[in-house]
């Protein structure tokens, strides 16, 4: 079965890594300006959002409409963690740790945000044991509202005004060394997210997710512990999205509850449906494309929210299966298989 040499089999991974390194170098030597850098970072974050939602809506065939809830939990938890530890604030006063440690504390805070978001995912996972489809969709919307309203009522973290201070944490990193830290972390986060999902869905364990999607009763009777697989899948999806939230909060430097409302969840869904249900490469491609489109249409301001939903209407009319359908790039271009050994 092993064909081609080691270099060839890893060509795809090498291409991805060198691409990331190239972009980071371009940023380091100011070849690309801050605006382009931020667009690239949003692409990475959107890849994390769309691939994680795709796991639930595409692979598992559930209909989660409240994905932004987990983005919100991750964003707030990681922001609060990093600000409380690393920046002077109203709650704990002076920072606990010297600013040089920001480079360590920041990724940890993103991870903590992911863990708490994964726990929040249980809110959706438990009802999913008993309900499916439309009913579960309503629950996910409810969870989205619960999270936002909950934070709006928490004046400690700024309530509806939002929460800030992350800029200081990010600034400490740049003071330590003038390299594009945020780009590096977003690249690492994106690669981590896609790799984990890829490994999950290609294992026999993760194929239980597709079995649940296609026939849940057959899955349960053929020995798949459907409740456990659902729990793991929802938690993985919301956890990875929570990490995206943590990165997002630190890239923007400021969060407020309303930036994680249903509109944000809809954006996530648009990316999944655009890419093709259950296609990981589709979710990646559509996230890049969608971020690009959003920036392109930015001058149109609010009008873009007429155009983007309209493209969705057209998509559902003429290519309801999305860009990739449920296929992967390697299915469409079998020759690619030679260049990527997905373990």
């Amino acid at each position: 079965m092993e064909t081609g040499n080691k270099l060839q089999r890893n060509a795809f991974a090498l291409a991805v890594i060198s691409g990331c390194v190239l972009i980071i170098l371009l940023a380091q030597f100011k070849v690309i300006n801050l605006y382009i850098q931020s667009v690239i970072m949003f692409m990475g974050i959107n890849i994390m959002i769309s691939t994680s939602l795709n796991l639930v809506n595409g692979n598992m065939g559930e209909f989660s409409c409240g994905h932004a809830a987990f983005l919100c939990v991750g964003a707030y938890v990681s922001s609060i963690t990093s600000v409380l530890i690393m920046a002077p604030n109203d709650i704990t006063g002076a920072p606990f740790l010297p600013p040089e440690l920001a480079v360590l504390v920041f990724p940890i805070s993103v991870f903590v945000g992911g863990v708490v978001a994964a726990l929040a995912g249980i809110l959706v996972a438990l009802p999913s044991f008993k309900t499916r489809g439309d009913y579960l969709a309503i629950i996910t919307i409810a969870v989205n509202y619960m999270v936002i309203s909950g934070i709006e009522n928490l004046s400690v973290v700024g309530g509806p005004r939002g929460f800030m201070g992350m800029k200081k944490v990010v600034k400490s990193m740049y003071e330590l060394a003038d390299i594009p830290w945020m780009m590096i972390f977003v690249a690492l986060g994106t690669i981590f997210c896609v790799l984990i999902i890829r490994r999950y869905v290609s294992s026999t364990y993760g194929k239980g997710v597709n079995a649940i999607c296609q026939d849940e009763i057959a899955a349960e009777i053929m020995s798949v512990n459907t409740n456990k697989v659902k729990l793991v899948t929802f938690m993985l999806s919301s956890g990875l999205c929570g990490m995206a939230g943590g990165l997002f909060a630190h890239v923007v430097g400021y969060v407020n509850p309303q930036s994680f409302n249903i509109l944000k969840s809809t954006e996530a869904m648009v990316m999944v449906y655009l890419g093709g249900m259950g296609s990981l490469s589709g979710a990646v491609i559509s996230a890049v494309f969608f971020t690009f489109l959003l920036e392109l249409l930015r001058p149109l301001q609010i009008l873009k929210w007429v155009i983007i939903p309209f493209t969705l209407v057209l998509l559902m009319q003429f290519r309801p299966e999305g860009i990739m359908g449920n296929k992967e790039l390697t299915d469409v271009f079998p020759k690619l298989r030679k260049y990527c050994r997905f373990k």
Binding site: S203, T204, A211, D215, A219, I221, M222, N225
Partner: protein, 255 residues
């Protein structure tokens, strides 16, 4: 200790008693049939034994373990596997993956192993692969490994579903009308296949079947039910001439 012991099993759906006071004991290695007219409660009995329903009354024991309160995947892990009256393969997954996923209960690695691609994970996946290919080969399905079920003719889909059930490595295999919808050549092949499975793996096979030819040529013991009640049981010869059975199938003309 018997492989399967069902005692006084009764199942009510609202006012309807779909199964009443059903009893059976299998020691392991036998080939038995469950027959009866449409709506008699046969599939319901399989649903009860595989843990999909919990009986209203009575008990089901698999290798001495009471399955009450267990979820279906736990009952399956005890070694009870089945096929469905209407084929329920996973339609977007190729045949090989259908076989692989049915080994979920003995995957032998955790989610963290899968993320980290540990040695344990690689070894277990290889083993799952090896077992799956061996099974496909033994059941003459190797060439269809990468086909999705809807692309296969009906007879082959039935065969794949039996292969998937076998990939559980069951001690008891429940077949719900395996010959339904097959042409006469496929039926011959099915009889061969079931006999081969029985001879090779020495497992108990319990089948629901309407085609008498299949039942008569395979099974040594037959249970007949009608309206949820057991009306007869015995060897094929005894059942063929049983007046109650003839009445149940042909209808009661005296009323």
């Amino acid at each position: 200790m018997s492989l399967l012991k069902v005692e006084h099993m009764t199942q009510n759906f609202g006012g309807l008693q779909a199964v009443s006071d059903f009893n059976i004991e299998l020691q392991g290695g036998e080939l038995v049939a469950l027959i009866g007219p449409n709506g008699a409660g046969k599939t319901t009995i399989f649903n009860l034994v595989s843990g999909f329903y919990t009986p209203t009354e009575g008990s089901i024991r698999v290798n001495g373990k009471d399955t009450r309160g267990m979820r279906p995947h736990q009952v399956t892990a005890l070694g009870v596997s089945r096929t469905f009256q209407n084929i329920r393969l996973w339609k977007d997954m190729h045949v090989l993956d259908n076989i692989r996923v049915a080994q979920h209960y003995r995957m032998g690695y955790s989610i963290w192993d899968a993320f980290a691609r540990t040695r344990n994970y690689m070894g277990r996946e290889k083993e799952i692969d090896r077992i799956s290919w061996k099974l496909l080969e033994a059941m003459n399905l190797k060439e269809y490994a990468y086909e999705v079920p809807p692309n296969l003719p009906y007879g082959l889909q039935r065969r794949v579903e039996i292969a998937r059930a076998m990939s559980i490595q069951p001690q008891l295999l429940l077949l719900d009308e395996p010959a339904a919808g097959l042409n006469s050549r496929d039926v011959e092949e099915l009889i061969e296949l079931v006999r081969w499975i029985h001879d090779t793996f020495h497992i108990s096979i319990w089948m629901i079947e309407h085609q008498m030819k299949v039942v008569m040529s395979l099974c040594s013991w037959i249970k007949v039910i009608d309206f949820g009640q057991t009306i007869a049981e015995g060897t094929p010869e005894e059942i063929q001439n049983h007046p109650q059975v003839i009445k149940a199938y042909l209808g009661d003309d005296t009323i």
